[in-house]
Each structure stands twice: as structure tokens, then as C-alpha cells.
């Protein structure tokens, strides 16, 4: 499979903002539902490209230290998200001395991943405003 074709098939959250907005969140899609832990990681990745330690730090910082995720659950979660097609990854190009020459693996959301977090947000806001008929 050519590189260009691969790139067109796997559209990530790195796409231009207009392109992100063009995703029709009303159109029903068949995606594998993320578990609560997977949802946490999806939100931590958000619209950026993040590597493992950054995801851990984002969760800890945004919860003011009340929530954390260990490597023992982070890596299997990322693996599952990749299998579900909600997240894609690539190796970074930069050489970081502290890592002994090992490259970082950057994760970003796929279109399905973006759709998943938008669906969760819609569901939560619908719950907030729901009125019994």
C-alpha cells in the first residue's frame, strides 16, 4: 500500500480545524464503544498528538492530582484504542537524550475517535438538560 494512500485512509486529529468541523457528528457511525478508562485517555489525547508520559501528565494535571493512570493501565488502554480504530500512532522524529535514543510514540485521534468524544459530550449535555415528558 502506498504511503499517500495510507495517509488518506487514516485521517487523524492533526487535520486542519475546518476539516475537523466538517465531521458530521449527526451521521450515525458504527464504532466500538470505549470503556470509561478508554474515554479518559481519548479526552486526554484530545485534538493534539501526545506520547504516553504526556497523557499521564495531562490526566494528573487536569484533575489536580486526584486522578492518575499507571503505565500498567495506560499502555493496554492505548493498545485497545488502536485495535478499536479510535487512535492512531506514529514514532516521533526528534532524538531525546534522556530516552537513550529511543523515539517517542505519538498518539492522535482518528475520525472515529473524534466522533466518539463528540458523541460522549453530546450525551452528557443531553443528560444535563433532559426533562421528563
Amino acid at each position: 500500500m502506498s504511503n499517500a494512500r495510507q495517509q488518506s485512509e487514516v485521517k487523524t486529529a492533526r487535520a486542519a480545524p475546518e476539516e475537523q468541523l466538517a465531521i458530521n457528528s449527526n451521521a450515525p457511525r458504527k464504532i466500538k464503544k470505549p470503556t470509561p478508562r478508554e474515554q479518559l485517555v481519548l479526552f486526554a489525547i484530545g485534538y493534539h498528538e501526545r506520547y504516553g508520559l504526556e497523557i499521564q501528565r495531562a490526566i494528573k494535571d487536569c484533575s489536580n492530582g486526584s486522578e492518575s493512570i499507571s503505565v500498567g493501565s495506560l499502555y493496554p488502554t492505548l493498545h485497545n484504542l488502536e485495535k478499536k480504530g479510535l487512535v492512531t500512532s506514529r514514532f516521533g522524529d526528534e532524538v531525546v537524550k534522556e530516552r537513550g535514543g529511543a523515539r517517542r510514540r505519538y498518539y492522535s485521534l482518528t475520525e472515529d475517535g473524534l466522533y466518539a468524544i463528540k458523541s460522549i459530550q453530546q450525551y452528557q449535555s443531553a443528560l444535563l438538560t433532559w426533562q421528563p415528558s
Binding site: 508520559l53 500498567g72 514514532f91 534522556e98
Partner: protein, 74 residues
């Protein structure tokens, strides 16, 4: 010490993830050294993380084995 153990452990980890996981391990290790954490504590944390990585490797291998499509059908 951590680097030597990590090099040995690398052979037991899935090849797809070994570079990422061990790189993260070394990065955390160096961050702790820079933060002035006692050496014994850094080594203890690293050993715990190495044990976690081996456990994660087993988990992933097992889950992939369970999810294998033996018939080759969708």
C-alpha cells in the same frame, strides 16, 4: 543499573512497543534524577515499572491471542 536491566527486559517485550516503553522508562528515570530524588528510590520505582511492563506485555499478548481471527473471517 536500570539501563542494563531495561536492555535485558527489552527481549521479553513486544517488538512493536519495546522502544516506546523503555524510552518512557528512561525518561522518567532521568526526570527523577534531575528532581534530586534519592537513588535507591529511583531504582525501586524503575524496578516496579519494569515489572509492570512485563505484566502489560503478557496482558497484550493474551488479549491479542484471544482476539485472533482463526477463520480469517471478518
Amino acid at each position: 543499573m536500570v539501563r542494563n536491566i531495561a536492555q535485558m527486559v527489552a527481549y521479553t517485550l513486544p517488538s512493536k512497543y519495546a522502544e516506546e516503553w523503555l524510552g518512557d522508562l528512561l525518561e522518567v528515570n532521568n526526570n527523577l534524577i534531575q528532581a534530586g530524588v534519592p537513588r535507591w528510590k529511583i531504582n525501586a520505582i524503575a524496578l516496579l515499572r519494569i515489572a509492570q511492563l512485563i505484566w502489560v506485555a503478557c496482558q497484550i499478548t493474551w488479549s491479542d491471542f484471544i482476539d485472533t481471527d482463526w477463520d480469517g473471517r471478518e
